[in-house]
Amino acid sequence: MLKKLEAPLAILGEISHRCPLSCAYCSNPIELIEKNKELDTDTWLRIIDEAADLGIHQIHFSGGEPTVRKDLEQMVEHAHKRKLYTNLITSAVLLTRERLEKLKKLGLEHVQVSFQDSENENANRIGNFKGGHEKKLEIAKLVREFDMPLTINAVMHRQNLHHLDDMIKMSVDLDADRLEVANVQYYGWALKNRAAFMPTKNQLEASMEIVEKARKDLKGILVIDYVLPDYYAKRPKPCMGGWGRQFLNISPEGNVLPCHAAETIKSFKFDNVKDKSLSWIWENSEPFNKFRGTDWMPSPCKTCDRREIDWGGCRCQALALTGDINAVDPTCEFSPLHEKIFGSAAEESSNEAPEFIYRLYSNKEVEPIKK
């Protein structure tokens, strides 16, 4: 156990970037890691051991699509043995009854299924995967049939926010425990499609009302997590509970990141699990230490009473939108650039939405399915 530094709480294992869907809002990097560069089974099992020894509580298996890996079973089994709480974050389209049942037997404790919409046609259009929505419904039902808790993850945006009510209803019908309403985050591939996804202010205001009401009506039945899109918020959200405070993210090739978008910061060299132990990295890795705590902060943050709440917001976003990694997160209204960026977002969403540029694992752009 580390002395001066608190050990992380959870680990997000992006075990593969491969994915059968081609969501236009994918926030994974433009350059995906190829299959032959993925960490092997033994390395993942070692990571799990090191995580348990550090006192980490939870492991989320994610991607890409984690079920593309045939050794997911081994990882889940081992994590469970080491008493880590196991969570599978999946698009569900590759899962079968047999595989889910096996994963459950090996110790899988929670499943999160992503949905692109509540309505068939639009959902399959957004994910560009025929039959995907039906498959997701089927697997979500199985999760509950096997008596595992279910979270529905719904990425909402301009082209499906009008179905938010239905999405909530769908989650209740599926007997989900939790609904996570996420707004598109404009990193990686998603930035190409910002204009197609940016919701209008009216849409957002309506969505907040819907969520507030549903939270009241469904108290004790469905927990709804809702994060306001960055571009309309007045204050940034804390990055993963604060940079290098609670989370570790491991990329398919083994780079250890403070957050899943951190590799957009090209000036950083991230340490890799193949060279160093998890605890060494947590304690010593330069990118982790660079924005840990409050010492690094620019001037409005340094004295701000929210500095230990949002921890200065998101570094990836500060870099992407201002060009300066050390700048105040421009989602904060105290950022000198806040007005400018807020304004451009509002303008984008008042124009007509362009067609999506889909993401494909091969990185080629594909023809959209016609509306």
Partner: protein, 99 residues
């Protein structure tokens, strides 16, 4: 088809239990009690730990209250009231069921 859930409203005769998918355990590395649920980890305080240890599906809130009232030398009604508030919050988050 699965039955639709209803909100669980705790009363003093409710027998609370921590559901299978929620883990209440002592982390040997961190040396602290934690309540683990999907995507969440809660660190209960001393009193909450004492209450949660009794949420084993065998005793009612009333009985838990009586026991704790003796230990902490406090009025039973007040303790039961506090336990209900605390556990109701956990139940609403899906961390607690009734037996």
């Amino acid at each position: 088809m699965i039955d639709m859930k209803e909100r669980l409203l705790l009363k003093s005769e409710t027998i609370p239990i921590i559901p299978k998918h929620v883990r209440f355990e002592f982390n040997e590395v961190r040396k602290e009690w934690v309540l683990l649920a999907p995507e969440r980890a809660l660190y209960p305080d001393k009193i909450a730990i004492a209450v949660l240890k009794k949420c084993d599906g065998k005793v009612s809130i009333q009985m838990i209250g009586k026991e704790l009232a003796e230990i902490y030398k406090a009025p039973v009604e007040k303790i039961i009231e506090d336990i209900i508030v605390m556990l109701q919050d956990l139940a609403d988050k899906g961390f607690l069921k009734e037996c």
